[in-house]
């Protein structure tokens, strides 16, 4: 392995990792917001909107991110809407992630017993207060493992961003292979970069799950 090559081009990877992390985080935050919004709509059974939410969830979960990105990047300009690579990446990731996050939140809401709502009502709490103090905290603690798994999954999905001409980690690796034929070194750095980003996230997620699961609620 050519170590000189690795040290020469490592900065390129660091820069690309920044792009991956920045756009990935933004997409994930938006996905959480979209998912939470959809799950609220479904929980409160808001007429009409709940069907739109279900349709969206099925659409986002049953189409590949690559196809979604192609639609945004190559399809939309035909309709007169041109988006930059960055915007496409963030919109695509939050579109995909929103569906997964909504399902994670939904499973949490479903796990909260119906009696909890009635106990809250009988104390005179409003439905907003019941959501905020009683239902949501319990639902969230159930959802956390699924939400964390989604975060890791979505960070990995960012590797298709290169398909819409975005200089992320995958893009840099492909570029170096194309230019210098240093396949081994380029791929080694790519794997290392993803591991450096994702391992801490996974460890953090596991710690968070343990805390919520075992430290809380008197277990």
């Amino acid at each position: 392995m050519d170590t000189a090559f690795i040290s020469e081009y490592a900065p390129l990877y660091i820069e690309a990792a920044g792009v991956t992390l920045w756009l990935g985080s933004l997409g994930i935050l938006l996905a959480l917001a979209v998912g939470l919004f959809c799950s609220f709509i479904q929980y409160f059974r808001i007429p009409v909107l709940r069907y739109i939410a279900s349709a969206y969830i099925e659409l986002s979960r049953n189409t590949p991110l690559l196809v979604q990105l192609f639609f945004l990047y190559f399809g939309l300009p035909k309709l007169g809407i041109s988006l930059s690579s960055e915007v496409c990446a963030v919109v695509g990731l939050s579109f995909l992630g929103g569906g997964y996050m909504a399902e994670a939140f939904r499973s949490g809401f479903q796990a909260v017993e119906k009696g909890q709502m009635e106990a809250g009502l009988s104390l005179g709490l409003s439905s907003g207060q019941i959501m905020r103090y009683i239902v949501f905290p319990q639902a969230l603690s159930v959802s956390v493992p699924a939400l964390c798994a989604n975060v890791v999954f979505l960070l990995k999905e960012t590797s298709v961003f290169s398909a819409v001409a975005l200089a992320d980690l995958m893009y840099v690796a492909k570029d170096l292979i194309g230019l210098y034929y240093k396949t081994e070194e380029a791929l080694f750095m790519l794997v290392a970069a993803y591991l450096i980003i994702l391992l801490p996230v996974s460890v953090l997620a596991a710690a968070l799950e343990r805390r919520l699961r075992y430290a809380g609620f008197g277990n």
Binding site: G115, A119, S122, G124, L125, S126, F217, G218
Partner: protein
């Protein structure tokens, strides 16, 4: 005992879930300070009746008056009513993610906007009364069923309700825990609380009630003083029901 002021009045209450009536033409009054025990076979509508009074079920026709005011028409009104009417359920529905003290303080602090410190002092006094002050920081999961029910009673009491509803609060408990919960209720009754109790504990009903309402198939079949009802039931249906408790 004489009771003068009417606190709750239920008039011609009718309720059904779409397949036949659950409650039919139920009318009665609860006076301030009175303890009424509702008994009757399973499925006779006892729990539904309590749930209607607390607005957890919509009524089909008839009306409910609390303190002379008609309730049940608009949703916002129910929140006020529920502060005046405390309810304890069969399945000790405490909030599992909160400690005992947080469970108790949720109502007074978030609904009644009372000062947290004062409410906490009061909560401690109530916890002491039910013998659970040492469980203040415990989570519901760490308590026995009987302890949970006593916390649930404190949770309702701290709102200073004018009327307390108890829906088969000992039905899901192990036998040895029934007593500790009934003792708390008996003490409340002696202290002058107005209570509407649904129970299958006949000895307890006899000891605590000022009046018994016997409900059968959604109708009030018989009402009377506890001694009269238990010793000389007037209706044949009540006789048969009471017989099932004798071995």
């Amino acid at each position: 005992m004489d009771f003068e002021e009417v606190l709750l009045e239920v008039r011609h209450l009718h309720k059904d879930y779409g397949n036949g009536p659950v409650l039919e033409d139920v009318s009665f009054q609860v006076h301030k300070g009175e303890v009424i025990v509702i008994i009757g076979p399973s499925g006779c509508g006892k729990s539904t009746l309590l749930r209607c009074i607390n607005g957890l079920e919509e009524i089909v026709s008839g009306g409910i008056w609390l303190d002379g005011e008609a309730v049940g028409k608009d949703k916002a009104k129910w929140r006020e009513v529920r502060q005046k009417v405390g309810m304890v359920f069969q399945n000790y529905d405490l909030f599992p993610h909160m400690t005992v003290i947080d469970n108790i303080l949720l109502g007074p602090v978030k609904v009644q906007k009372r000062e947290k410190k004062k409410a906490e002092e009061e909560a401690e006094k109530l916890l002491e009364r039910v013998g659970l002050l040492d469980k203040k920081k415990a989570y519901p999961r760490q308590l026995s069923g009987g302890q949970k029910q006593r916390v649930a009673i404190v949770q309702a009491l701290i709102m200073k309700p004018e009327l307390m509803l108890f829906d088969e609060v000992t039905a899901a408990l192990d036998p040895e825990m029934v007593r500790e919960v009934l003792d708390v209720m008996l003490e409340l009754a002696k202290g002058g609380s107005t209570m509407l109790i649904v129970t299958h504990e006949m000895q307890f009903a006899r000891a605590v009630a000022d009046r018994i309402i016997f409900l059968d198939e959604g109708r009030i079949a018989e009402t009377g003083l506890p001694e009269a009802f238990f010793d000389q039931p007037k209706t044949e249906r009540a006789c048969r029901f009471l017989d099932t408790f004798l071995f």
